[in-house]
């Protein structure tokens, strides 16, 4: 498995931070604006010249309604193709359509055309939507530690891995340092590794540890160290 740290685009300190703490790769969070103006080449360039691997771009600021959301994602897919980025991560629209699977067919087609994978956040998908995935290059980021996010324990996580299409796994601590919450991270990682998962793992929103900067670097450091140790323990 490859351990990734999430960093914000344009905050160079965070790239250095990721490198110093030994992240295998970064996922860059990028605020999507007008889809016609989306340019992801600078994102890939900065990561590359910083000596890091880019595991994907996480799109933020996407629309809640399906059509503008789909338009934004389509623009990002084309921009990712131009920039040589192979993975986009995002949440599905907040306002779910009962026909999301059908609606996504156009996105699936664009993803296939561009050769860029889309990872939808499992914690934002209804069970029936989750069951529809993977669909071509539209896959899933399995979110663990959030009730109802598609896997509440090792057994469910393994089932999701067996169903295929898990491109990334994210552990949410729910405001606590990883290892202090309800989810048994080592047992879950051992289980999904045993099921053959070998992709990206990352921590979710970092906890606030005492007084800290707005991106909670102390919490991010704690969670990255925790996941690194658990991965070393697996070996």
């Amino acid at each position: 498995m490859k351990l990734a740290l999430t960093v914000r685009y344009g905050y160079d300190e965070e790239l250095i931070f990721a490198q110093q703490l030994g992240a295998d790769a970064v996922i860059v969070r990028f605020a999507l604006g007008d889809p016609r103006d989306t340019d992801l080449a600078p994102v890939a360039h900065r990561v590359r010249v910083a000596g890091l691997q880019l595991a994907g771009v996480e799109l933020s600021g996407m629309a809640d309604q399906f059509q503008p959301w789909s338009d934004g994602l389509t623009g990002a897919l084309l921009a990712a193709q131009n920039a040589g980025i192979d993975t986009l991560l995002c949440a599905s629209p907040t306002q779910h359509a009962s026909t999301l699977g059908q609606d996504l067919e156009a996105v699936v087609a664009t993803a296939t055309m561009t050769g860029v994978r889309v990872c939808l956040d499992s914690s934002r998908l209804l069970p029936e939507e989750l069951a529809w995935l993977p669909a071509g290059d539209v896959q899933v980021e399995l979110v663990l530690g959030v009730p109802g996010a598609g896997a509440d324990g090792p057994a469910q996580a393994v089932a999701r891995v067996h169903s295929g299409g898990i491109r990334a796994v994210r552990f949410e601590g729910g405001g606590l340092p990883l290892g202090m919450g309800k989810i048994d991270v080592p047992a879950t990682l051992r289980a999904i590794a045993g099921a053959g998962y070998d992709g990206i793992i990352r921590a979710g929103a970092p906890p606030l540890l005492g007084e800290d900067d707005d991106w909670n670097p102390k919490g991010a450091a704690n969670d990255l160290g925790y996941l690194r140790a658990v991965l070393q323990g697996l070996r």
Binding site: E13, I16, F17, A18, Q19, Q20, L21, G22, G51, L176, P177, L178, G179, M180, D184, V185, P186, A187, L189, R190, P207, L208, L209, G210, E211, D212, D213, P217, K218, G219, A221, N222, D223, L224, G225, Y226, L227, R228, A229, V230, Q232, G233, L234, R235
Partner: protein, 333 residues
Amino acid sequence: MKIALHASESADHIAFVQSLGLSDVVCGMPAEINGVVPVEAFEQRRDIFARHNLDWGVIENLSPTLYDEIMFGTAERERQLDGVCRTIENIGKAGIPVLQYQWMLLGGLRTEYSPTGRGGARYPRFDSAIAQHMAAACLDWMGGGKHRYPHVPDRPLSSEQVWAHLEWFLKAVVPVAESAGVRIAAHPDDAPVPEYLGVARILIDVASLQRVIDTVPSPNNGIGFCMGTIGTMAGVDVIDAIRRIGGQGKVFFAHFRNPRGQVPSFEEVFPDEGDIDMVAAVAAWQEVGFDGVIRIDHCPGVVGDNGRADRSFAFQVGYLRGLIQSLATGAGQ
């Protein structure tokens, strides 16, 4: 084992320690009065931590200002010994079970703090060839007293002399520690080189740590097992050392740190990239049944960090917790 940080009494630092989910802290000595630290000073500090549900289980370290004449073997040592004994009695009265001390006459040693680490992180480094001609290699981390660090000695001291001073100290102090219910733990010489500026350094291998234990056999006489320091001892395997010292129940306190290299030169790196197999080390701690406090030790300098290095310490706390939980659930098997 219980993960701890070296904590201060500041509200911000306490909040940081609490938010990490820790319940144990270690801390240095309160101020002395006429060579003795009064019981009230310990109780006051203990109570500050206790109000935040933090247990102060280890005093780190015995202030050198209380016993520097003893280490150097001067005519003043009898006077200092009385103060040390009364201080240990006060530690016992305050209910603090472990006191770590060190026997580094010239303090800890480093020669560089350079941005040569992973991603430009700053790594403390030691190179014996440089230290030989560098009086400033003494880390100014002890402070105070006639033999204030850094200190350029006015005469050489042999290994035999320094051992004799330590044995005199142990024979006098261990019975007091027994009566007080305090376990005293010797920290090895960091860096573990045999001599610096003409003064011998004696706790530089596993055999010397065993000699401390054997000098005054007692359940109250043991070792502060600094993984980083022991990992930099020439030819020493830390896992074997954990089994040997820890297997006797003689580790009263431990430091968690991973170096790269051994004397004559080494550097302190992140715990996931050093020479010690930390998975095997934590497994060894569990194997010998160590249930004491293990404190996150020095750590590399990380971009944007504060003066306490909270980011770097947070990484190491998470790392150690991850190892402990992995091994507890069998993920490491």
